[in-house]
């Protein structure tokens, strides 16, 4: 496994800033809330970068900017030709539809083709441990079951850079352990990961480097 020092950056963040409009209309001037500004760092191939900071520091916003979901107000995110995905749990779930349909749809939204999604379906069903419930509408699921299905769908995704936003708190204790085990396996393959967490201890335990919003 290559060490970080000789790896090349896959994403470069330069002077990034995002602000949100707080209020304002035709008759009132807009007021803005600056989430963060002047953020610069490099993300290297194969590393696990932890991001910590207090609530509202902009951790999730930063991930969305890295994923290309939102455009920053200032600065740039330079992608050196890699695929980036935010691991979104239960993306696009529809309570009226059975688990199978939701799994396929969610997988497609995350970037699979329909064929890939269909092929993965048995694996997803098995990992989620839902059994016959896979064919029941998701609205009949407990929140833990939904979380399990959501995680199982997202788990198979392997973009060049995977962005994780507090995803390890899913399901009951048994499943959480299983989810963590899988996720850590990913972290220790050559997968590049950006990992957001409230728990500084967890970040220390899992990450090669830490980016701390509170020390900006």
């Amino acid at each position: 496994m290559s060490s970080i020092a000789d790896a090349s950056p896959v994403i470069s963040v330069r002077d990034l800033g995002v602000r949100y409009k707080r209020s304002g209309s035709l008759f009132r001037p807009a007021r803005y809330y600056q989430v963060f500004e002047g953020i610069s760092f490099e993300l290297y191939r194969g590393e696990t970068l932890g991001i910590v900071g207090h609530n509202g520091a902009g951790k999730s916003t930063l991930l969305r900017a890295l994923a290309g979901i939102i455009q920053p107000d200032s600065g740039t995110v330079i992608n050196h030709g890699v695929t980036v995905s935010l691991l979104a749990l239960q993306a696009g779930f529809d309570g009226e539809l059975p688990g199978t349909d939701n799994a396929v749809l969610s997988a497609m939204l995350l970037g699979y083709t329909r064929r890939q999604a269909r092929e993965r379906l048995p694996g997803i069903a098995e990992f989620a441990e839902l059994g016959e419930f896979m064919h029941e509408p998701v609205k009949t699921y407990s929140s833990g079951m939904r979380a399990r299905l959501g995680f199982s769908v997202a788990m198979h995704l392997t973009p060049d850079v995977l962005l994780l936003d507090e995803v390890l708190a899913v399901g009951d204790k048994h499943f959480r352990k299983k989810a963590e085990r899988e996720m850590l396996k990913k972290m220790h393959s050559d997968q590049t990961i950006v990992f957001v967490s409230h728990s500084e201890q967890q970040v220390q335990r899992l990450c090669d480097r830490v980016f701390d919003f509170d020390r900006l």
Binding site: M1, S3, I4, Y20, K21, R64, A67, G68, I69, I70, Q71, T83, S85, L86, A88, A91, G92, D94, E96, L97, D101, V104, L105, M108, L109, L110, G111, Y112, T113, R114, Q116, R120, P137, H156, L157, T158, P159, D160, R181, L184, K185, K186, H188, S189, Q191, R205, L206, D208
Partner: protein, 495 residues
């Protein structure tokens, strides 16, 4: 005899109902485990008074004293232990430890040599001998003793652990890693196999590997082995979805939306037929039966206009707010915002197919059977679809920025209903306004539908061509705008 909890200041139980020695010793062992050596030494002293015939009260007391640096006292207890319990190797092994701690290597060597003769089947004796050899600066002799442990006592973890520690001691980290791997293989539950290997990785400047080993202590050797393997056939999403996958996504979502919609009702899919049927029935009753308006064939005229117009109105109404409604998903996954209005268009098109089918049935019963001209419905329907894509996407794009516009959509559609000639015929419009009237794309399309369905004529290809051209131009503008706004929508919709 019921075990009793012994409190530190409680008088000890009388001789005849003593605790089993192992239960009583736990009291002192707890202090040892907490590394409270002073307390431990005192507790062993107390226990010694009650159980003088048990080796631990002598040997463990010596261990506690050794930790306190009181080597003489420790040596005294161990000498006594050797005298009292000649068949117990602890007196010798610990004796060697204490001698080593005092720097008296000669005494340590003497004790261990004696122990090796007396207790050749006790692994600690050999391990300690290896430790002494190492302390004497003779790693080769240490290896010899260690090999004896590993070969003679394969089930004792001490041998492999010491084997790895010897490599650590020598600073041969790679060799140590290999030896720790053997420890993990034989004894996967021992923390040392992971922790000390992680230390070796740290020394080699590989913090990532070190972390992996520390995590493996928690997740087990299987996990470690699995991380060594290549991940099973990774599925990498493309940088951007290509057109085909995007279309597939839109159609899949639309299909599932329809399924979901149907699941919500008891009559399920039947509603897609019932709803337009009721709607058409209302117009039939009011205009065809009650008002007797428009004369012969007016109901057919009305429905051939109303059905396509309702399709347009429902689609546009539905699509207009989709981007705002899709804010959750939009902030979760990277998907072109076009996805949202297009799903609405596709979803309504799916339902509309049934309505068109019913209209066809009605026309046949009404005495307007199919003619070859019906083939021309295909381009007309396609053009209407294109028009709805343009209008729906344009509205969905504008509404996140000017939410108030949403309030105008129903009114606007109502206005369009009256401007498109659903209720009146083209000849009721003065000649000089007709071009302007037909410039309204919906009015024009309805006119074409009626030429085909009612008049059994081919549509006006010229007008259709112009309309298609204008729609394609609109489509290009909309696509361009969406491309530019892609990263903006997810923020605007939550603001």
């Amino acid at each position: 005899m019921a075990p009793r909890q012994i409190q530190p200041f409680e008088p000890l139980p009388a001789q005849d109902d003593r605790l089993a020695p192992q239960d009583a010793f736990q009291w002192a062992r707890d202090a040892m485990a907490a590394r409270q050596w002073e307390t431990a030494a005192r507790r062993w002293a107390t226990l010694r008074a009650v159980y003088p015939d048990q080796p631990p009260v002598w040997i463990q007391a010596a261990v506690a004293y050794k930790q306190l640096g009181r080597h003489d006292a420790a040596a005294g207890f161990l000498a006594e232990a050797r005298r009292r319990f000649p068949s117990h190797p602890g007196g010798w092994v610990q004796g060697a430890n204490v001698a080593l701690a005092r720097g008296d290597h000669g005494e340590a060597a003497r004790l261990l040599a004696e122990a090796r003769c007396r207790f050749p089947d006790d692994p600690p004796v050999w391990l300690r001998s290896a430790g002494l050899a190492l302390a004497d600066g003779d790693p080769d002799a240490a290896l010899v003793y260690n090999r004896h442990v590993r070969e003679a006592f394969p089930d004792d973890p001490g041998g492999p652990i010491q084997y790895a520690e010897l490599a650590m001691e020598a600073g041969d980290w790679e060799e140590a890693l290999a030896r720790w791997a053997l420890v993990r293989e034989r004894f996967p539950d021992l923390p040392a196999g992971y922790r000390r290997a992680a230390d070796a990785q740290d020394r080699l400047g590989r913090p990532r590997e070190a972390r992996r080993l520390r995590l493996a202590e928690e997740y087990g050797a299987d996990w470690l082995a699995e991380t060594d393997q290549d991940p099973p056939s990774p599925v990498a999403p493309p940088q951007r979805r290509n057109g085909r996958n995007f279309l597939d996504l839109v159609l899949t979502k639309a299909r599932l939306n329809l399924k979901s919609e149907a699941n919500r009702n008891h009559l399920r899919y039947l509603w897609w037929v019932l709803d337009p049927l009721l709607y058409m029935a209302v117009f039939y009753v009011v205009f065809g039966m009650l008002l007797h308006r428009g004369g012969e064939g007016f109901v057919a005229y009305l429905l051939t206009g109303l059905v396509p117009f309702q399709w347009f109105a429902k689609t546009v109404q539905h699509a207009s707010n989709t981007i705002v409604e899709g804010r959750g998903l939009m902030n979760q996954v990277r998907v072109s915002p076009l996805f949202f209005p297009l799903v609405a268009v596709a979803q309504n098109a799916g339902k509309q197919s049934l309505v068109f089918l019913m209209l066809a049935v009605f026309l046949i019963f009404y005495g307007l059977p199919p003619t070859p001209h019906w083939l021309a419905l295909a381009p007309v329907v396609a053009l209407q679809l294109l028009l709805m894509v343009v209008v729906g996407c344009a509205l969905a794009m504008l509404i996140p920025f000017v939410r108030d516009l949403l309030n105008l959509v129903p009114t606007g559609l109502q206005f369009l209903l009256f401007c498109s000639g659903v209720f009146y015929t083209l000849d009721t419009i003065p000649e000089r306004w007709r071009d302007l009237f037909l410039a309204n794309p919906m009015a024009n399309l309805l006119h074409q539908y009626r030429r085909i369905l009612l008049e059994h004529q081919w549509p006006d290809w010229g007008q259709l061509g112009w309309l298609a051209l204008a729609s394609l131009f609109g489509l290009a503008l909309v696509l361009l705008a969406y491309r530019r706004l892609e990263g903006v929508f997810p923020r605007v919709v939550v603001e």
